[in-house]
Symmetry: D2
Subunit: 272 residues, 4 copies
Amino acid sequence: MDDQSAIPDIQMEQPRHKIDVDAVGVKDIIYPIEVEDRENKRQNTVAKISMLVELPDHFRGTHMSRFIEILHCYQQEFSLVNIDKLLHQIKQELQAAKAEIIINFPYFMKKAAPVSKVKSIMDYPCVFYGIDNGTEQQDFILEVNVPVITLCPCSKEISERGAHNQRAVVKIQVRYREFIWIEELIELAEANSSSPVYSLLKRSDEKYITEHAYDHPCFVEDVVRSVSVKLLEDERVTWFKVECESFESIHNHSAYAVIERDRRSAKVEDIK
Amino acid sequence: MDDQSAIPDIQMEQPRHKIDVDAVGVKDIIYPIEVEDRENKRQNTVAKISMLVELPDHFRGTHMSRFIEILHCYQQEFSLVNIDKLLHQIKQELQAAKAEIIINFPYFMKKAAPVSKVKSIMDYPCVFYGIDNGTEQQDFILEVNVPVITLCPCSKEISERGAHNQRAVVKIQVRYREFIWIEELIELAEANSSSPVYSLLKRSDEKYITEHAYDHPCFVEDVVRSVSVKLLEDERVTWFKVECESFESIHNHSAYAVIERDRRSAKVEDIK
Amino acid sequence: MDDQSAIPDIQMEQPRHKIDVDAVGVKDIIYPIEVEDRENKRQNTVAKISMLVELPDHFRGTHMSRFIEILHCYQQEFSLVNIDKLLHQIKQELQAAKAEIIINFPYFMKKAAPVSKVKSIMDYPCVFYGIDNGTEQQDFILEVNVPVITLCPCSKEISERGAHNQRAVVKIQVRYREFIWIEELIELAEANSSSPVYSLLKRSDEKYITEHAYDHPCFVEDVVRSVSVKLLEDERVTWFKVECESFESIHNHSAYAVIERDRRSAKVEDIK
Amino acid sequence: MDDQSAIPDIQMEQPRHKIDVDAVGVKDIIYPIEVEDRENKRQNTVAKISMLVELPDHFRGTHMSRFIEILHCYQQEFSLVNIDKLLHQIKQELQAAKAEIIINFPYFMKKAAPVSKVKSIMDYPCVFYGIDNGTEQQDFILEVNVPVITLCPCSKEISERGAHNQRAVVKIQVRYREFIWIEELIELAEANSSSPVYSLLKRSDEKYITEHAYDHPCFVEDVVRSVSVKLLEDERVTWFKVECESFESIHNHSAYAVIERDRRSAKVEDIK
């Protein structure tokens, strides 16, 4: 029935060294997907996908083509609910105790400019990480990268006019016990920086943003602290990591800060 | 009527140095688009877009936000026909003698494996370049990047067994007087290399491709020559550039070759 | 005495949110450095460097410029011994409980071709990670990325002639209790793949490598297992992570495998 | 004498299609080099190098290994004078009518901060392009990429306080009839932007730069025009291309402008 049956299956051989492989699979598959969208229900985007399984010490290799076959079944319905099923299917079809998927994609959101209210589309690089290891609950991480403005408090304070500012990226990763929208994390990052950025701005908006950024100076340290305080207050979040990288306009290198907290194994008062 | 009217328009000022700027505009906008698809009529993908105009010596700056506004109008209908109209609109709204657009995007194509006929999706990075300079016909270039296998003829000839082979990328750029499908250029690149590549292969397919590549060795020089011969025979093509970069498996650097020919200003016998 | 004294120091202010920042500092500084070389004592290269400290909850910001000042002192003597001192100095001058440095650089090694013995220079991307958290021993990780050939055992077995092969990268990261040369990790990766790669090969070498790779087929799973077995036998190594990414010639995506083992908290028989 | 003599030389065969290949060779070799330095005579850096030759229609392939052999001879003395000799040697040893080299490298320069005068090292990505086609003078292009600050004149004018600013990169490419230092092009780019950037700044310097940038607002159009005016006045320059890409802090895309002028075939009054 299977055209493959007469061809030797080298992957099923005994390996030379009997040692478990933590993860093995396919990396960097470029693939068109659909994801859930708070405003429009679904949106089309393009993902870079990696899929991995644990390989026990008695198999020489995994069957890489099965990852691609399974991926094809789910192409039209990438959501957290489906990743759940997809990971389960990978585990079954590849006879693995643990399956993992990493999905990078730009997420698009229509945003109104602050004064003129003209709308434009912004892209936010996102990542879904999903792990199913069978023994406990599945493990998911949602990552959102949000471009913002940081205006330097030190530069503003010491200068008689102006203040250096620049594009920065706030990266928020969360584990959660209740669903969180990508849009919520975008808003969180934007609210805790000097200003959001937009793809389309009229002059009235540019004036507003310039002054708003000047009135809300922040270091990368301030950004990650403010975002962390909000995530600590959010009961849905069980773990988070917040990073801010600021492409300093006065230097040729970046300023960077990071805070990571885990509520799963700690009391709230401990993790601050 | 316009909320902008009371705010000074610095871009319209006289520049300090009266010198024409060849091109000015916005670069690297990430944007969801739809493109024409030979099999399915339309496909969704994500583009990186740059849009530029010529700026005459009496304007200090261009109005960058207008590029984005115009882009929004065309989001759902990116095709060569529309780029035509889009460039015209840019010229008008930015009062420019010349307008230019560069659109990078992955193009997806369903491909059947050679023996098992299982289908899978492959991505091909493409670029549309469009220039409208008003005085003559619009100038378009279509670029397709096709991953293929190159198997080294020298390695095969001198070795008693095996032959080094590797992934290579064939980049084809064409100007044409009649429409050419992306799919046609993909097939051209694949037919003139050691073998196409696929995202999903059964063992029967892997056997076929391994032997097929071994039976069709080619240098990067062979690839660009074979593709060029076919493009020279194609009456629709007025100009082309063919490049092949092979990520040599025996080295940590690439082998590379390029052929460019222009039929617009030459007799066919001259350009070989 | 200090020209800075009259200018307010915003970084020393109380932060709005009293929360520790895990790490803060400068990222991606491009810098010329010298590193230890087993054959020539020292070699010149160029690094991309990040430097970070922990920031306690009572400081608003760190003094980013001090990182650069300290970096300048050590420019001519980057070695593991000096990273030791450098981390200590960062901790002191930035009043931090924890300091961290990440140094990416290409390491160059002269290699003789296998038959002709002609010598050429190969580059190996390396990373030094160093952490000083004061309470226990400093923590160092050495990472070496080694390009190699992988020839597919399945393709060889099922095909009547040839076998697909490609460039792959073996990434080895180690913690150790006794010094390990970059050269040792390079040799380890090369010995456990289908063949090393070279920048200069004569035809006699190309023949040798083609046949040698054909005679030593390996999956990415085989590579990480073989390297792991050797690292488990090496008493100097206390922790390691071995990855292999193979840029499959028959696909447009990679095959990938990883094994990580920690001997610090485990018996050797457990960690296999 | 040569161990190669008994092994067939496939490259010397007749190609299937008799068509000239414009350029063929090796790409992206990572290599340690020394370059001329105005202040310190020589500096060590790391290059990414490509080397190409024209291939006439009667040879099937070029001998890629000879590029690497020649490269090894010149490793310690990369300068424009030597590129001259190196290109000549490539032409001879590969029996080519035309030879080409492209050398990408970071160039390092010690810079004093504007007020405190503390010195630090900055990196400037550079490229040397060299072509020897035998029939006329050799053709060289020097490219320097200079990070600077651009502060938006529009944002400053329309806002009551502050002005958005950001890191930008000025790329200058020149052909010349008389030697030009990399340092001269760096100074030119810095003098015609809102401010230079530095790797090490004290608070007094940060105040100075913030105010200086605020006092010297410029669009990308202004930057390329000002630099072009200076290059048009420089009798040594026979051709140039000036680009400025500004990583807008208020957007997630760049603003970009370019001016290219050729004095070789034009009167000066024409090329403005």
